[in-house]
Symmetry: C2
Subunit: 391 residues, 2 copies
Amino acid sequence: MNNFVFKSPTEFVFGRNAEQEAGRLSLRYGANKVLLLYGGRHAEESGLLSRVMGALEQCGIPIHLMGGIQPNPTDDKVYEGIARVRQHGIDFLLAVGGGSVIDTAKAIAAGALYEGDFWDFYAGVHPVERALPVGVVLTIPAAGSEASGNSVITKRDGLHKISLRTGDVLRPKFACMNPEITFSLPPFQTACGVADMMSHIMERYFSNTLNVDLTDRLCEAALQSIVLSARQVMADSHNYEARANLMWAGTVAHSGILGVGREEDWASHFMEHEVSAVYGVAHGAGLSVVQPAWLTWMTVHRPEKVAQFALRVWGVPERKDLRFVAVEGVRCLKQFFHEIGLPTTFRELGVEQPDVPLLVEKLHEDKGELIGNYVKLDRRATREIYEMCIS
Amino acid sequence: MNNFVFKSPTEFVFGRNAEQEAGRLSLRYGANKVLLLYGGRHAEESGLLSRVMGALEQCGIPIHLMGGIQPNPTDDKVYEGIARVRQHGIDFLLAVGGGSVIDTAKAIAAGALYEGDFWDFYAGVHPVERALPVGVVLTIPAAGSEASGNSVITKRDGLHKISLRTGDVLRPKFACMNPEITFSLPPFQTACGVADMMSHIMERYFSNTLNVDLTDRLCEAALQSIVLSARQVMADSHNYEARANLMWAGTVAHSGILGVGREEDWASHFMEHEVSAVYGVAHGAGLSVVQPAWLTWMTVHRPEKVAQFALRVWGVPERKDLRFVAVEGVRCLKQFFHEIGLPTTFRELGVEQPDVPLLVEKLHEDKGELIGNYVKLDRRATREIYEMCIS
């Protein structure tokens, strides 16, 4: 086990009517004037937006609204938000949405207090030293951004999707999580969230750090539970208990508790970021294509942990031939993704003619010559994995 | 799943040499003058105490020392600490030890800022509204007090062992956790810690709250990992990786993450507290007697979850007869406790003639007429369980 520091200071307020606490919590964490960020019609039509605004108004907090934040969020909304914050003297950002809205709020929170271009943070030119506080009302269990200090924004110029990882400075102060809000998520979007949270766990699980039995088993437990809850939710979108398990699993998956003391991988995420940046697909659907291809490549080059994943998460029967066991595990994962309506090939993703050389080029341009850790992937390896996504 | 709030703001600094961060961390969390609390010779002779003092001195922090805190800590040390804090203008408590030292530090931290008797907090007469900050250098993975806002102190007058549960106000600001410090723990003390952390998980696991699949599985994963690491540590006390897994498991077991959204039980802990208060035995050894007896009683009165525990934690083969499966699971747990040198009867615990009526009387006097939640235990039930501990 490697040395580590762990801290999870975000206050998670979980359960029915949790969004009604948004005003009280914003006050507690210092809000005087709030920029309330959201995505689109769903937040408006479901009545969520007005409930959250009501909760803020009850606490006497003035609100500025900024909607229209899209999946794979782009820098234009960040610049717009920074301008609004400065113009109106806003001191608190409340994200009502999923990862895209939260990540945009974090970028604004850091950018608004910085004289230079906010891209400096994402390019690693300047660390985020201070930021406005961010609160969350979560609507999509997927990205885990409510529990992390990270943010991913797409630069429209060149379509680069760039991640920023900070410690605590961008971690949300609170997250209101009401599983009922997720009843109306369409099956495909629910499934994309499932793929994203499973991938967040796998990025930690596939590690070169030996003797991390506790976190290995916690990862396996969380993966098994996500599979169970996802099946229940697909059978009944209004199953509160299954929605609740899934929503909390998305947070646990990315809060850091499953990755302590171990080297993490993140190759599948990085490879997917290029796919969704170039083709505008849903991140989760991109992952359900890329992650199994990455695993399949690993069954050839490093099957040990994939076999453990197969045995413990999918109940694949034990055999001497680790590679066979590993391949069976990947088959189970793909079958599960299909079962919940996710693609596992570029074609199923709607990308008929993927430009693999372009994806490889952008990937290594953005992330360096070697990608990931479980096996460090060079251009040849990432090309092979992208090619495995084709069919 | 029940509604819940979860927050884990303690900064855990984990790994080799972690204790060297104690000075820097104390400064960060506001220390100007520290009362350093510890147990006995071991902290002195191992060199740990002088290393921690060195770390504080390097940061220019004046130190007052207070040693001699015993297992099952008593109120005399709390009063002594409160007096020292007030006399010397101390503003930070650093506990170098296990649960007893940390719980004493918490009692002093709250008591020093309160005009009345600190027992008011433990009696539920007055809530803890403010407290001095507490830091921890952990030496025994067991109580999980480094991750909780709770404290247990024994009132010498009448030998009542009383728990206090707070939210964040008594939660340590940081905990330095170096697994190497635990190399020299004697096997019996290590085993007592194992029983304590397993019990912390079982107190959460055995719940009437249905549909908490994620936390159920996380609990099962943690229990399995503790069993594995405990066996490795018993075979080689200097196995760093196993010591590290065990140490972190003790924190995870009691940080709250395994109990979110569910009613918890705590009958076994309450029943044990009377045993260690009256007979002065180690809390963990008391638990390895009481918890299996509690489980055995449940195999008769409510076997379902005990059977799940047997199937998933101990790999007991599936059978139609749930009670049979449950009994097999309890047998596995007792066998494991024996294997690591723990008692499972009062006799093995060294209590030849337990006064069951006295234990029952004190238990219900301290905790009310009904104990626990999984099954609410009346005087007859707790007497039956104490009697099951005899042989």
